[in-house]
């Protein structure tokens, strides 16, 4: 399960992820990390027992959003060109054998590169 973790200013300098890994004994894959002076924003992927990890973050006062379908496409805008497939670092977009552009939203790490690139403004993210 992919989650978006937003860490508030007072916790930015604490080794929270390591702490949670040690306490829960669950592996956390950091897919995107953006640490600033007064906040941090991460996308993590947790394969097993993600509920435990979510709870552990929340117990520490950190908000967690589950990313079930982070990237959305308006089918009335999409022309199935497939330009998005070149910019996506994690392979969300796949051109099928009959040339339909298919989206596997579960892979998305919300880098948003595709949003700007889409010529018909068919893509959006909620986060």
């Amino acid at each position: 399960m992919k989650m978006r973790i937003q860490i508030p200013a007072n916790l930015v300098r604490k080794p929270i992820v390591s702490d949670i890994v040690l306490k829960t004994n669950v592996l956390i894959n950091l897919e995107k990390v953006n640490i600033e002076a007064n906040k941090a924003d991460m996308v993590v992927d947790v394969k097993d027992r993600w509920e435990d990890v979510k709870k552990a973050f929340e117990e520490r006062g950190i908000s967690v959003d589950l990313l079930k379908e982070p990237i959305k496409r308006r089918l009335d805008r999409c022309v199935m060109c497939g330009i998005c497939s070149t910019i996506c670092p994690v392979g969300v977009f796949k051109i099928s054998d009959d040339w339909e552009v298919q989206i596997d939203s579960s892979k998305c790490i919300i880098c948003k590169n595709c949003i700007n690139l889409c010529p018909t403004e068919a893509l959006s993210v909620d986060y």
Partner: protein, 498 residues
């Protein structure tokens, strides 16, 4: 075996014409052979759906009261060409909106017109005795227009150069984002479904050929601009009625960091008049070969790296000197298929008849480059050839002395083998001293990602690069990354003085 266009149209009227898409044709010919396929098949439909910048529409607004001779016209803040009669205009696909709406342009105005949306119309004039009104603001839809005629000067490229990038920077082009060091390849065109590739001798596609354009009937009105038949890059000029089109086949496009364009769905039915037409329409992606071009070279004559077929391009992965490079399309093959299928359906249902050209397209001739009276100078003509540089292992103090002794601000840094590996400026040294940093060597504080340029690049490219990266000078390097000069904004200002 020969068939006339009248016989084929008769069969269409009777509902017994056999119509297939150009995708289906190769297998049919393989199965039946040329002779039987010619008897069996009457029409082959083609289709393409790509960003076609050379598109636009003539609009007639009708006269206001009092009348105005529109001198400048804005549709949703996008300027339309008004240098024709009083209330005629041409809205071009690539024109960008004035003001903050940079992601909106002519292509979107055309889509919004076709979609029946309200469009804000503003016009200015100087006023005459017969056209006294000097400014006008109203809202219109396509239904309010007398004519809305799409005239596209260049559509339906027979095939198009594929693009890659040898440079060490990402380039945002009309062929999409091209990653550095040949990391990706983009292509456009529908290959096996491409109209002109299915009739490369232009026997059935010419002036007067009835076509599918943007969801409506349209016509070929001549060869397109930059028609290049001798090299296999023919183009078409086409017309269609915007009022009959639909947004499923006409779509505004924003090419990231490049500009605005218009996706146009275009399809042409090809009558199977004889075995030669059967043979022509049996063409496959592997037979349609284009050039792979290096867009990393910012010149008109970009190097052609090699020939490349649409089969390779469409496979998603291409071998480039032993390296696997991913490809991506700029045009939509999915929609191209939809165009060919829709046209096939229209013909089967008898609502679309075929026409032969009244005049053929030119089969000879090539595209000429622009005649320029004065040739722009190259970087090597203006750069300072005396270059001071240092090795990466020297002390920062030494580098500071070199800067002062030579009265310069930029000091390129080279490796033992003489290749450019970094650059330091007086600012980098000042910053290091001010911070009381413990760094000693030049290599600790230099910028490693050096913006540089080649000696044969044009000075205009150099000026753009300095501006883009907000720097005042950069090293000039040969392909081996050896420094051959320095070019600075003051070198470029010599151009203005001379």
């Amino acid at each position: 075996m020969k068939k006339s266009i009248e016989e084929i149209n008769q069969k269409i009227s009777e509902g017994c014409a056999r119509v297939v898409t150009a995708e289906e044709m190769p297998n049919i010919v393989k199965e039946l052979g040329l002779e039987d396929a010619t008897k069996e098949i009457d029409v082959v439909t083609t289709g393409t759906f790509g960003a076609m910048c050379s598109s636009g529409a003539f609009l007639n607004f009708g006269h206001s009261d009092p009348p105005i001779k529109m001198q400048r016209i804005f549709l949703n803040d996008v300027e339309a060409f008004a240098g024709i009669a009083a209330v005629d205009a041409y809205i071009g696909a690539t024109q960008q909106a004035r003001g903050p709406k940079l992601e909106y342009g002519g292509g979107h105005v055309i889509e919004d017109l076709v979609g029946g949306k309200e469009i804000e119309l503003k016009a200015e004039s100087y006023g005459t005795d017969c056209y006294p009104l000097k400014s006008l603001e109203t809202e219109i839809t396509i239904d309010d227009l007398n004519q809305a005629t799409m005239i596209n000067p260049r559509n339906g490229y027979q095939k198009y150069n594929a693009a890659t990038n040898s440079s060490d920077r990402i380039y945002y082009t009309y062929m999409g984002p091209l990653f550095p060091n040949f990391e990706n390849i983009s292509y456009s065109g529908s290959g096996i479904l491409s109209p002109l590739s299915n009739d490369p001798e232009y026997r059935t596609i010419g002036i007067g050929t009835r076509i599918f354009l943007g969801g409506a009937k349209g016509y070929v009105i001549g060869e397109g601009t930059q028609h290049d038949p001798e090299n296999g890059f023919g183009t078409l000029m086409v017309r269609g009625d915007l009022k009959e089109m639909n947004t499923n086949f006409i779509r505004g496009a924003k090419i990231y960091k490049y500009g605005i364009s218009l996706y146009v769905g275009l399809g042409i039915p090809i009558p199977i008049l004889d075995e030669n037409m059967t043979k022509a329409t049996a063409i496959e992606d592997k037979d349609i070969v284009t050039n792979l071009v290096d867009y990393g070279i910012q010149r008109r004559d970009r190097p052609k790296l090699r020939k490349i077929s649409y089969e390779e391009l469409k496979s998603g992965c291409v071998d480039l000197d032993g390296k696997e490079v991913k490809t991506f399309p700029m045009s939509s093959y999915f929609k191209a298929k939809e165009v060919a299928e829709k046209l096939k359906e229209d013909i089967i249902q008898g609502s679309f008849k075929l026409s032969l050209p009244v005049e053929p397209l030119p089969r000879y001739g090539e595209v000429k480059p622009m005649y320029q009276k004065k040739v722009n100078p190259m970087v090597k003509d203006l750069m300072s050839k005396k270059v001071v540089f240092v090795r990466e292992d020297i002390q920062i103090e030494e580098a500071a002395k070199v800067l002062i002794k030579n009265g310069i601000d930029h000091l390129p840094v080279v490796s033992e083998s003489g290749r450019l590996v970094g650059i330091i400026t007086s600012w980098d040294i000042a910053k290091s001293v001010a911070k009381g940093s413990s760094h000693k060597k030049v290599s600790d504080i230099m910028s490693k990602n050096v913006v540089c340029i080649g000696p044969d690049d044009l000075v205009d490219v150099a000026a753009r690069r300095l501006e883009q990266y907000n720097i005042s000078a950069m090293p000039v390097v040969n392909p081996n990354k050896e420094i051959v000069g320095m070019i600075s904004s003051s070198d470029l200002s010599k151009l203005v003085r001379s």
